[in-house]
Subunit: 300 residues, 2 copies
Amino acid sequence: MTKTRWIAADWGTTNLRLWAFDHEGQVSAERVSDQGMGQLKPDEFERVFIELAGDLLGQGPCDVVICGMAGARQGWAEAPYAKVPSAPIATDGQKVRTNDPRLNVCILPGLSQANPPDVMRGEETQIAGYLKRHPEFQGSICLPGTHTKWVRIDAGKVVHFRTFMTGELFALLSKQSVLRHGIGDGWNSDAFTTAVGDALSAPDQLTASLFALRATALVSELDPDAARARLSGCLIGAELAGARPFWQGRNVVLIGDPSLCAHYSTALGTQSCETEYADARTMTLAGLAAAHARMTGAEE
Amino acid sequence: MTKTRWIAADWGTTNLRLWAFDHEGQVSAERVSDQGMGQLKPDEFERVFIELAGDLLGQGPCDVVICGMAGARQGWAEAPYAKVPSAPIATDGQKVRTNDPRLNVCILPGLSQANPPDVMRGEETQIAGYLKRHPEFQGSICLPGTHTKWVRIDAGKVVHFRTFMTGELFALLSKQSVLRHGIGDGWNSDAFTTAVGDALSAPDQLTASLFALRATALVSELDPDAARARLSGCLIGAELAGARPFWQGRNVVLIGDPSLCAHYSTALGTQSCETEYADARTMTLAGLAAAHARMTGAEE
């Protein structure tokens, strides 16, 4: 008998991460692959999964619970969105037909919103993990990243959310726009908080403020590390201006990359908004475990 | 004796355009090369120019008046910025040393602004051309493009200006971001004006509105042509919100690509701002000709 009880997986656009759990509920193996959903056709997912985790499987069917972009229309199998307001994970998810009889695969659904139109896939599992541990939480959860999500939580449900393209804009502007000439790898805290304040007080100046980074470097001087921090501050400040109803006067929890969350915490702190931080990996695992426990009728 | 009296050139980042003028002030030749400043080292400009225009030169020195990025720090020779407030072309420009004795090259300076920091190179020549023809003009000139300029004109001088990264953001987002999957090549006027109105009334929602284009395609449907028009409307609307002091209650002249100027005219028209249009090539030539006439002490 294998020691694997079930496998949790976060299959995003660029990476696949999985964790094998033993019968005592402990993580017995953790693996990462760069075979993200973005580069796979639907009929390639099973092979990739078996290559990465085949040796963890026994002879009987093993439960595999997956969150993330593997459930998109172009993923392994589409797991249709649940509409908000909704519990973060409202259903058992989409069963996936496999050729390998050792697999019992289920992909968790994302969330969608009709007005304004919005979607998430993967973040709902982190939210579920947080709410499993803090069932009484009322307030907002912010998940900074390529597409930062701001999520209003009420009575254990996601009632409203909004996605900001902050991370993707930062990557495009710092690496592929005219600004790339003056952007370094470092950081400058003062430049960041000043830019956040400027953007919050005049968010309509965003696209002019971006060019001003280039102009400042040409007409005077701008340290490349300060330029990078200012670019981030412009974009995060503009986001906070648009997301104000999510954070003003509310409890805010940040889930994501620790250094990025620290920048958000700093930015929100300038507006007297205190935040808590929760580890993304821990919340993902807690969310996947809660989904698995519900599927099997067990309680952890 | 050659029939070329002098040569006007617009040497930008991606292209070099030049026009030879005969002794009657008529354009006797027009040439274009893709050898833009962006791909040239300083010691390569003369060779590129001679390759394109050598056969137009006689034996004596020929005046060559150049505007655009050839005057940048990494260009043929730096033509330092003039600080606003200033006439659009305030000096005779930067003489350039050449190896070929048939050349008498001068590069026109751009304009810079200390607060907020901003720069232009090339647009000042179009503005000079417009003011040569309309010396009494009071109001704002908008030059849409990769980096759209809004310019306040008073008593023949540029008194203030602001650059918005609208065009570059449109290119990055439509071709290299997650939005590219749903962006077509066509247009939808209703989608454009609706997006302009939404962005003008809530410019702080810009980066969320961008992701909503993707989300709309996923949760309902979004015609790719409508998506392209909405993306443009989001960005131009946000720009108009930031540029409001330039256009509200003022005369506005648009100089640039005709179809892009038409979109700006439509967008401004929704705000009861009527615009006039001036052809970019004609204004560039008029500005270069005015600069040459002043250098030579002639009047056209």
